[in-house]
């Protein structure tokens, strides 16, 4: 019975505006009843608000349409057959009110009124409510998954003036098909630590590009990641051939990649410029014959 309780909780939490359909299809009171059939069919709806000069004057549903048909279906305007007493709700009201009203009155749809402007801003049907609830459950479930790893609380739990988490990864060279394993590991870790998806994505791309470079040009390397609540610092070191002109490699499109790398979809000269783009601070040091050291920092602040 736990799910029932959860849903009961959600119908109080969710507002009409969270689930309503915003692009409302409406009809004029002067439209012919006969034209509803085509409208309902093409738009896959079973009722629609009737609007006159911007104001809501009624609602016409498939039930009104059937009633009209069984009464002979003679030519007449919607205004003669529509339901005039329309129940509406404000966009900031809790979902539970619509559900209670549905149960009691048997109405299937409620136009939603914007409390600020007084105009109609959406419509809520049983379908919208179910869809909204399912989406919310899915989001909650996802958040619970993230929370499941106690790691997301680690910085809150540690009592210190400054806390840093250090992760180290070894990058084995010459196997481009395996490139991405290091970045993948870092991405999962940062996700579990509860960082914003944008921060996670930027850090993962930096790691992936850097990892790919190590694999292409050096025999091996390592990546050290220092994670702090305010920033993620990455240092990637290799003992490769080094970069003769550090300025040059930061120019988009400059590449010295061999063909076998290009065939794999890399080596277009975008790697380092892309790392620069994704990071808030970047330092590249290289000595020919000794190796290369890349430092990149992603600052955790308001999302870019």
């Amino acid at each position: 019975m736990k799910e029932v309780t959860k849903i009961q909780e959600l119908v109080y939490e969710l507002r009409m505006r969270d689930v309503m359909r915003k692009d409302v299809i409406s009809v004029s009171p002067d439209m012919q009843m006969g034209r509803l059939r085509e409208l309902f069919k093409t738009k896959r709806i079973s009722g629609t608000p009737v609007v006159d000069g911007g104001g809501l004057v009624g609602i016409v549903s498939i039930e009104d349409f059937i009633k009209w048909l069984s009464g002979g279906g003679g030519e007449c305007r919607i205004s003669e057959k529509m339901t005039r007493r329309v129940e509406t709700f404000y966009d900031d009201e809790a979902l539970v009110h619509a559900l209670t009203k549905m149960e009691r009155s048997g109405y299937g749809r409620f136009p939603i009124i914007d409390r600020q402007t007084g105009g109609m801003c959406g419509i809520v049907t049983k379908g919208n409510i179910i869809e909204g609830l399912l989406k919310k459950i899915e989001i909650d479930y996802h958040e619970e998954e993230v929370r499941k790893y106690r790691a997301s609380h680690i910085f809150e739990d540690i009592r210190a003036d400054k806390s840093t988490l250090i992760c180290q990864y070894r990058i084995a060279g010459r196997k481009l098909t395996e490139a991405g394993e290091t970045a993948s590991g870092l991405k999962t870790t940062l996700k579990r630590l509860g960082f914003h998806p944008d921060i996670v994505r930027r850090s993962a791309i930096i790691a992936y590009e850097a990892e790919t470079n190590v694999i292409i040009y050096a025999k091996e390397g390592k990546m050290i990641v220092k994670v702090e609540p305010a920033e993620i610092y990455m240092k990637v070191e290799d003992k490769g051939p080094g970069i003769p002109d550090v300025e040059k490699v930061l120019e988009p499109g400059f590449s010295t990649a061999p063909d076998w790398v290009r065939e794999l979809g890399f080596g277009a000269g975008m790697g380092l410029p892309n790392i620069k783009k994704c990071s808030d601070r970047m330092v590249l040091n290289s000595t020919v014959g000794k190796g290369t050291c890349l430092e990149a920092t992603v600052v955790i602040g308001p999302t870019r």
Partner: protein
Amino acid sequence: MKLREICEILEADIVHGEDPDREIDKVGAADLMSDVLTHSTRGSLLLTGLTNSQVIRTAEMSDIEAVCFVRGKRPQAGVIKLGEEMGIPVLVTRFSMYEACGKLYMKGLRGCEHN
């Protein structure tokens, strides 16, 4: 647009992917994975002619929702398996890159930089 609808438009096979209802609102097409990584591709579908595991890795790093291989090229088992592990659906369409893009654009799907 739902992944299911995209499959219909591209007459694509879902090689694997359990969630045909996932929402995709933009599309990118590239054979250069470096280019994909340069752009903001979150929540998009990636069309590509490249069929190695780097495509899946790139999709993973960039939060791409699904990958579709063009010209009927089926990736090797290892690539499909990686897609499965990463939860990234893999599709194959018989259309060329140009035609696949055109078909999706005509149905209203825009590129990753389009606002």
